[in-house]
Symmetry: C2
């Protein structure tokens, strides 16, 4: 484990340690000592002396012991030499607090720092961070306010200010931390490195990440995809809006905002995306402590019809399924159901219910094996003893907390507020709002489903990559960044994409033979470098149904083109299979600036452009993921067949998606590839790739 | 003001008053006395005696004073006779607490109670409610927990349990109430009645409604539409989900859930719809106390980049525009901007900022006339004195609270939490979450825009209603609930909808003349009662471009139909103008079970069916609203013209929407009317209503 010594160092040096309490270098040493760090601490300060009763070393080289982590908090201009000194000393990890590098435009110094560290086999956290806290070694090497309580939640944050403020927030929300890591500029260590450690760390039961921008997104996606199968990851990503977002728009990117890509890839990786910090805290707290549900069927118990209906609405929104076997429900609650109550789920005990009734009903849910999770809702009533009730909830929770997920939502005045505060302080999942309770349970269900999911069989696809590389190399040798139609057709053939058959006819005879060979109807198009706008020159004829029409068209095209461009050299006339109408779709793939290879699918024309109805995934994908992309679309019913039409060949679509996703992953020199339209026919009848457009990257050094 | 005496009664009788503290009848009298009601209270109890030191009357008739409100809290079976007694006494309003009527299926008794009250000129609140609180007369006539603080917010709730719990919630959230009304079964008085009073009530500055189901929705919509121009209304509606919703599906309803209609109509009425009770409280609290913004341009001031970006994202989502004149921003913050900070909006003072800097920056925003609202965000830092900061916010808020909207969002630990609690308690809009702060400001902007909106000029549309009635009457006389094609064509002609021209030809000659008259191409269709499926019988011919083709088609249709149905009586062959292709849309209108007449617009085919891309409004609508329906659609760009196509004739579409909306409003016997498709051409070229389907209501007594 490469990161182990970062989280569990045997000794830490603080370069820039200070005796002045207002200095960051003082604060860090103070936090390390106060947090009860189990290893040795060495303050480094050129003036020597004593810092917080520890002897300060003038030079790192003076220390005899091995140093695993050096925290660097000195002015930016002195960092590079400190890094060299650490290298000489054999330090393993650098935690560079100092700011003033790439975030203010100085990429060069940052690059040199990383290079120097690499040369010495050191890894760097930061720069531009507030430090790291690790419960594994009781180490708070941050300049935060201190007092971090250990617990099951790990936080990785790209924002320093927010991260420091989170320390206080974890205390007021009773969220204990296994780790808190500030990643700052991510010059070297990034989220993926940290996740690999946290995935194995037994203390960590849930992970929260605050992300502003993604670097090396393909590795992050791969790592997340693994980690979420073992423990839940909640992400807050700022910059969802156009204004907030700094992501550059590429061609496919302009079809949907870059946030669409992030969002799709996160879902693909099984990550739970929270909208606000508050929501992320609420979820992660619950995810870290709740048992997983033994099944999908939840039951709502309430003493108020209104909040019961609101919870039902929220269950639909958050993917929580409600148990519906009415005879079992009626039986389970027969003892406690008042006259006007309802044993239908949501189970409504009405405002008449006493605390005992409520307790019995909730216990009935938790005891019944066919009911898998409980949503316990309560409205303060004038007739109900809140104190008693809180005690009851405490007892029930203690008895069943390890067996089934429970969420409580209490609504009312001061007594309820104080009950909520007390119960939450004890770690009981009590919420003041029905929506928060349901969204937490929904997050738990999503996490649990992910944990049970098998990996998407990443089909070992046999693409003739060498042959495709050769085609691309040809285009690049000709100084082009795009493929000509015949080149694209070659790639399509290598991929086994069904493109319309096409023959270049150099004479009328050849055209007639080609048409007969391809089968009617056909399309004819002039082939000439001199004629750019074929249609305008009369160089295209559609829907030719017979030999006679082909003969007429051949002559008409030649005549019309020569009339239009008198000196045109006509290479011949292309005879092309006419594609039958079907559902038009688009399959695309590109190198995303954040996530590397991504694949895209949408329905053709206005669905993508106007309705923004597009699915993205990190590439490559297997069959199951490709099919999920298809069914994710709002326009999916069109492929299922609307208005009595037949179901379309979704498997054939998925096949094209899988192929393009593997191609973009294995040919990184392809910048962008798009089949548009991919015409889809009825189930079993396949697809036709009408047009394939491939852009390749500019060779380096050419602008 | 019909409701004035309900909110401001001079004397209240409590029928069913009790001396036993556990009884509702005791609780109500106790609350009335404790709330400091300024009028007289008369407990009524057949056993007489004394209740809470007041003499109890055995009979209402024994009281000499006039009684404006009688609160009834006696068993259901005795309510009807009590209502009669109140009628005899000349009571003005009944507040019927008792439950066990229509909500448990006893519609008959409820109907008789209302009838009896009407005969005596009395209005009824309830039954099945917890009562009413009115700050205007310091009257708490509920069986709630008491202790309601007066203030600027009025609450109308359909859920009793939730309403009672809200009393406590208002206290912990420091929301003072002008009124709290439980409407229960809404047997007589409904939200619209109450809103009319509250609109004029000077104490009430914002209104919160919890709605489960809508009765008399057209009146509610009209009333809301007026009220929201004077003060903001926030609605929570439960039952948004399929499972939660009880609304019956009618044909158009099946296109989109009934919640779509509710949601559209609320937006049309300028109502703010909250998703949760918590959100509703947050908004209403802010709306009731904040000044309206002098303009659209808000500024974010933050000491943390991360929360600044999150706030920016949230601003886009909630429709808050950010000020963007960079030279003015740079100038405004030049004094306080640290090296690494950014004067771009969101203005980032960075974690380096001291409390003074922060205060100066915020003051700069509030002083600058070109900046219209301030979002002040703060992340707890180790270097910043939270106590000091809280004092600073307090001062700034006090100076500018009446001039510009301000929201604060503070994020951090215990000191921050306690600052938030204290400041909120003082009525300062401080939030713990950036999203809450921005959503509140967004709600304020929406409310302010509504308050400035002119009424939608409800075009006094001159429809030949009498003529249309006559057509409908003809169909009804024939025992039909639908119109035949020629009848529908008559209605279309009366409405001035451009339908394809059509002539019934009874001979080949007539067909040829008709085609020449209409202009080629034409469509021909057999007209025969005996041939139901015209296409199957070969009774339809499309795209006939010449006299020769018309002659061929005429003969082919006759031959084929007679081969198919040998005994068929053929009335003739219809020659119809062939409609040129254009954008297909659907305009519909119907009597909605909740809202009465509503009008619907969507793009044709899959857009409505698959993409659920539909806009609804309560009818009738004027031009501006009709145009807003068009631009509300996600598929709107298709009408604006995509891929270089021309802009479509949106005015002509709006014209059809307006006409159908007026028709459905004025002809209540029309159950459902749909133009499908309405083909739309380029701007200035109008529309063609290809098919018009009209369903009429079953005459009463016919099943």
């Amino acid at each position: 484990m490469e990161m182990k010594l970062l989280f569990e160092p045997r000794a830490v040096a603080v370069i820039g340690a200070s005796a002045s309490p207002e200095k960051i270098g003082f604060r860090i040493v103070e936090n390390i000592l106060r947090s009860g760090y189990r290893g040795c601490v060495f303050p480094i300060n050129p003036r020597g002396g004593e810092i917080l009763k520890l002897p300060a070393y003038a030079d790192l080289a003076d220390i005899e012991e091995e140093i695993d982590v050096a925290v660097i908090a000195i002015p930016a201009e002195r960092v590079l030499s400190a890094v060299a000194a650490c290298g000489a000393k054999g330090v393993k990890h650098l935690v560079i607090i100092t700011s003033g590098f790439s975030e203010v435009g100085d990429l060069e110094t940052e690059r040199r720092i990383v290079q120097s560290a690499r040369e010495h086999g050191m890894r760097i956290l930061g720069p531009n961070i507030f430090g790291i806290y690790s419960a594994a070694s009781s180490l708070d090497a941050t300049f935060g306010p201190g007092g971090i309580a250990p617990g099951p939640v790990a936080i990785i944050t790209q924002s320093g200010a927010l991260g420091i403020a989170m320390i206080g927030k974890t205390a007021t929300e009773s969220v204990g931390l296994s780790a808190l890591v500030s990643v700052g500029n991510k010059a070297d260590i990034d989220e993926a490195d940290l996740l690999e450690y946290l995935a194995d760390d037994e203390r960590t039961r849930a992970i929260l990440m605050y992300i502003e921008g993604v670097k090396n997104g393909d590795r992050l996606a791969r790592t997340l995809s693994e980690v979420t199968r073992r423990k839940p990851v909640v992400v807050i990503k700022s910059g969802r809006s156009k204004r907030g977002s700094m992501a550059a728009a590429s061609h496919t990117g302009s079809l949907a905002g870059a946030d669409e890509v992030f969002d799709s890839v996160m879902r693909q990786c099984g990550v739970l995306r929270a909208e606000s910090v508050q929501e992320a805290f609420t979820w992660v707290r619950y995810l870290a402590t709740s048992p997983r549900p033994p099944g999908e069927e939840a039951v709502i118990v309430t003493n108020g019809g209104g909040i019961g209906v609101m919870a039902t609405d929220a269950c639909e929104k958050h993917g929580v399924r409600l148990y519906d076997d009415q005879p079992v429900l009626a039986e389970a609650f027969s003892d406690v159901m008042p006259d006007f109550g309802s044993s239908k789920n949501p189970v409504d005990l009405t405002g008449q219910a006493k605390a005992e009734d409520y307790g019995k009903a909730l216990t009935a849910v938790l005891k019944e094996d066919r009911m898998h999770a409980a949503l316990a809702l309560y409205c303060e009533t004038a007739l109900f003893d809140t104190e008693r009730f809180a005690g009851l909830l405490r007892e029930i929770y203690a008895s069943y907390r390890d067996r089934k997920p429970i969420v409580f939502s209490l609504f009312g005045g001061e007594r309820i507020e104080s009950a909520i505060r007390d119960l939450r302080g004890e770690g009981i999942p009590v919420f003041g709002d029905v929506y928060e309770a349901v969204s937490s349970l929904g997050a738990l269900y999503r996490a649990a489903r992910r944990e049970q999911e098998g990996p998407d069989a990443a089909v070992a696809l046999n693409l003739p990559i060498d042959e495709i590389h050769r085609v691309l190399a040809g285009a690049r040798a000709a100084g082009r960044t795009f493929l000509l139609a015949p080149e694209a057709a070659q790639v399509a053939a290598h991929l086994g994409l069904g493109m319309p058959r096409s023959v270049l006819a150099r004479s009328l005879d050849e055209a007639v033979r080609a048409a007969a060979d391809i089968g009617y109807p056909v399309v004819m198009k002039v082939v000439s470098k001199d004629i750019v706008h074929k249609s305008d020159a009369g160089g295209v004829a559609l829907d030719l149904e017979s030999e006679a029409e082909v003969i007429d068209a051949y002559q008409a095209i030649r005549r019309s083109c020569l009339a239009h461009v008198p000196d045109a050299v006509i290479d011949g006339i292309e005879v092309v299979e006419m594609v039958c109408p079907g559902v038009e779709t688009i399959v695309g793939a590109r190198q995303d600036p954040s996530f590397g290879p991504v694949v895209m699918f949408g329905l053709g024309g206005v669905y993508v452009e106007v309705m923004k109805d597009v699915a993205f995934r990190a590439a490559p994908v297997g069959r199951a993921t490709a099919r999920a992309m298809v069914s994710d679309l709002r326009s999916y019913p069109i492929l299922l067949g609307v208005r009595g039409e037949k179901r379309k060949d979704i498997d054939a679509v998925a096949d094209v998606v899988v192929k393009l996703s593997h191609l973009i992953d294995r040919c990184r020199e392809i910048a962008d590839i798009e089949v548009n339209p991919l015409v889809v026919y009825a189930h079993g009848e396949g697809t036709r790739a009408v047009d394939l457009r491939i852009l390749i990257k500019q060779p380096k050094g050419v602008s």
